[in-house]
Structure formats: structure tokens, C-alpha cells
Amino acid sequence: MSVPILNASGCLDALVAPDVARTLDAFVTKTVTLLPREGNPPPRIAEVEHGMLNSIGLQNPGIDAFVSEALPALAELGVPLWVSVGGFSAREYAHVCERLDECEDVTTIELNLSCPNVEEAAETAAEITRAARAATSKPLYAKLSPATWDLAALARAVAEAGADGLSLVNTIRGLALDPATGRPVLARGAGGYSGPALLPIAAACIHACAHAVDLPIVGMGGVASGADAAMLVAAGASAIAIGTALFADPLAAERIRAELASAVGTPPAADRDSRSLSQASSA
């Protein structure tokens, strides 16, 4: 099975780890907003039993610095470039898309319509997609949240508004409390829940949308093995993005690609390329 493998937005910095970025069929940037953002105060991450929580809060340099500083360096990687775009109003999304529309090196724009860690725009996902559509002729992927009662209807609405594809799914809101104090572990309170626990949720979302609209789908949420990736492909994804799994294994994309190619659905744990106590080596 040959399926394009991307990183999930916010889960890789290609400029710090170019070798990792080169293992991907396309690199997706962390979400870029109109203005620079420092993001949320730490602690921003917490491991929970079956996944992790994050409340990064879209820390990014803003579209101006992104275009003038990051983009030229990213272009040199020789990896197709997707830019994730966020905002706090349809106008902001449109402004950022307009800027990116002029950038030759950007192959695709992913609209982050679903970050659980910031206040959201008042407009609907479809309205934002429509505004972005008017601002750029680049391929537009709408990234949606699993915390949506009728996701198929939302998928139809963003398709109607001009999306060329869907990215499914973003994190879902989760909370961890310190057992000793009863207070949230993350400074912001709740965060976005990602990792293994998300896989069946992602599969259901992809399945529902694949039946509702005729758009390509980048599937993500808890993918850590070829078997996981194959599951999302069977659910209807035509490409796979890897997020949380990259933290423990920067070479996850290559490993998962190999596992998919060998097409044997072995369970994740058995697939791990690991080092013995008597043989540590760098990943």
C-alpha cells in the first residue's frame, strides 16, 4: 500500500529537524496566524494514560515573519510545503491566505478550523472556508474537529464553500487534574487530547466524511503504526498525517511507510524498532 505520509500540523519543526522533514511526502507547518502569538503559558503538555494533552495555543511568528524568514528556509528543504492557517475571524483567515497565495513555494493551505486551545472565530467553518476560497486559488484543506455532532453535514458545508480536501481530525478537548491538588496540570486548564486514544474517533470521522463528500482526506489521530495507518485508509483517508507518534519516534514516517508497504497489519508494539539496553543508538 503506498500512501502519502505527512506530519500533523504543530508536531514537527522542519527548520530544527530537516532530516525528519525529508522523510515526509509533504511538510505541514505549525498553524500560522495574522499576528505573532506567544501562545499559552507553560505547563503546556501532559501525558495521560492513553494519549497526551497540549495547550500550545498556536505559538507562531505571524504571517509577515513567516513569509519573510521561515518560508525561504523551508523552501530549501525540497519537500512539498503545506501551510496551516489559523485566525480569529474569517477576515484574518482570508488575509493570511491572500499573503500565501503569492508564495510559489506553498503547495497547499490547510485551514485550522478546530484548535481547541484558543478562542475560536465567531463565523462558521463554512464561512471561513468561503472567505479563504475567495482569497487564494491554492488547494484548500479544511481541518475539522471531532467534537462536532454532525460532522458529515459540516463536511458537506465546507465542500460547498470551496474546500478541496479535508484534514481529519484535530485534537479533542481533554483535561488532566493533578491528583494531589485537584488542579489542572496544564496552565490553561483543558488542552487538546491526541495520541492512541484518538484512533477510533478519527476513523469514525473519516468514515462519515468519506461517505458524505467526494474530497480527498488526510487522516490523522493516534496513528503510530502501519496497521493504524491502514485502518484510517480503509476508513476513507487517501493520505496520513502523523502527530504525537513523531515525539517518541522521529523516524515514524519511514517506519510506518515500510509497515504499510509490507502490508502486514502487525500490532504497534511489535513493530517498534528499538534499542536494547546493550545497544543504544540515535534515531
Binding site: 503538555i45 504525537t244 519516534d249 522521529p250 534499542r275 539496553l277 540515535s282
Partner: protein
């Protein structure tokens, strides 16, 4: 696997890994946990990498429970270590902050050290740094710094590092923060640095 007071010294065969610069760290797979855990290199005997681990939660407990022959993922060396180009090095560590010191002292070709611990049991770890001055709470490492401590290289809990910074403004300090990736991917490990949030795994863990 060797107990050192309440800590465990974990020795891994080095394979193709570099040992890096003192103060750099490695991400170690903690069996059964989703995310790896950052650990400073403690010692680099030929062919090995040794880490000193304090079991304080599920990840560090899993690491301390490893048995010979077990295999774990290791990524590193990562981050920025100590600047070794110093004239009068003085090592200052609190608790598990002793972890990077043996390798650091070796790289410096020897250096005096002040170690602080919260109990006599913890203080047993001082054996990793013979000849160091050792204090146990309520006495604090900063009590021993004196007027002109030289070039301080320190690692320890946040309140200790803050106190050292106040006492010795130019000190090199190795900080900690929860880390998901250790290689700049997640923006989870930020600390406030000159009014902005900097990734400790990229710009640290050693900061001035």
C-alpha cells in the same frame, strides 16, 4: 542498573550514539508510556551511556524498573550543554541535579563541587562526585557559595537555580521543563526568556 542512594544508575550500551557535551540530554523511551523522558548524560564510560534516574512518576519508575537485556529507544544528544571554556569552574547541584555533574567534571578535567540534598539518603549520591562539599537541608548550596565563587555551572530544582542566579548572575544553569519530543517539534517545553517563550530543548537546557 545500579542503585545510588534513592536514584538508579542506568547503563546503556552506546551503539552508534555520540555522548555529546555535558549538559546535553537524551530522550529515553519509558516502557509502557507514550512519551519519552529527557535525561542528562551522567557518565560516558567506553561503549556506554549512563543516566542517573530519580523515580518520581510513571515514566521514571518504568526506567528504573528496566532489567539487563531490555531494549529502549534512545534519541540524542540533544540541546545545548555547558560552555566548557571557563576559568574557575565550580559545579553546583541540588538533588537529582547531580546527574550531569560527573560527566561535566570529567570534561573539565576536574573541578570543585557543592552538592545539596534533601536527606541523608539522597546524599548517598554524592559518591558519584568524590571530594565534593555536601550539604543536607536545611542547609543550602547557596550558603556555601561565598563572595567570589568563580564560574558556576549548576543544575537542580527551580528554586535552587533561581537562588544561584541571584547570587551569581553569570552562572550557567541547566533547567528542566516537561518535554514531549526533546527536538523542537512540539513547542511544549517553553520557558520565559527575555519576554518571549523559548523552547528549552532547542535553546537550553543550559541557559545563562
Amino acid at each position: 542498573m545500579e542503585p545510588v542512594g534513592p536514584y538508579t544508575l542506568l547503563c546503556l550500551e552506546r551503539g552508534g550514539l555520540e555522548s555529546g557535551r555535558p549538559g546535553q540530554f537524551f530522550m529515553l523511551e519509558a516502557p509502557g508510556r507514550l512519551l519519552p523522558r529527557p535525561m542528562s548524560l551522567c557518565l560516558a564510560p567506553p561503549g556506554e551511556l549512563a543516566f542517573l534516574v530519580e523515580p518520581i512518576g510513571p515514566g521514571t519508575r518504568a526506567l528504573c524498573a528496566l532489567t539487563p537485556g531490555d531494549a529502549i529507544h534512545v534519541l540524542g544528544p540533544l540541546g545545548n550543554g555547558f560552555d566548557l571554556d571557563v576559568e574557575r569552574p565550580l559545579l553546583v547541584a541540588g538533588g537529582i541535579g547531580i546527574a550531569p555533574m560527573p560527566y561535566l567534571r570529567e570534561a573539565l578535567g576536574g573541578a570543585p563541587a557543592i552538592l545539596g540534598f534533601r536527606s541523608e539518603l539522597h546524599a548517598e549520591a554524592a559518591c558519584l562526585l568524590p571530594d565534593a562539599e555536601v550539604v543536607v537541608e536545611p542547609e543550602l548550596v547557596t550558603d556555601l557559595l561565598g563572595e567570589d565563587p568563580g564560574d558556576v555551572l549548576a543544575c537542580g530544582p527551580e528554586p535552587m537555580l533561581e537562588a544561584v542566579r541571584r547570587a551569581v548572575p553569570g552562572a550557567q544553569l541547566a533547567w528542566e521543563a516537561p518535554m514531549a519530543c526533546g527536538y523542537g517539534a512540539c513547542f511544549g517545553c517553553v520557558v520565559e526568556l527575555e519576554g518571549r517563550y523559548a523552547r528549552l530543548c532547542v535553546e537550553g537546557p543550559v541557559l545563562r
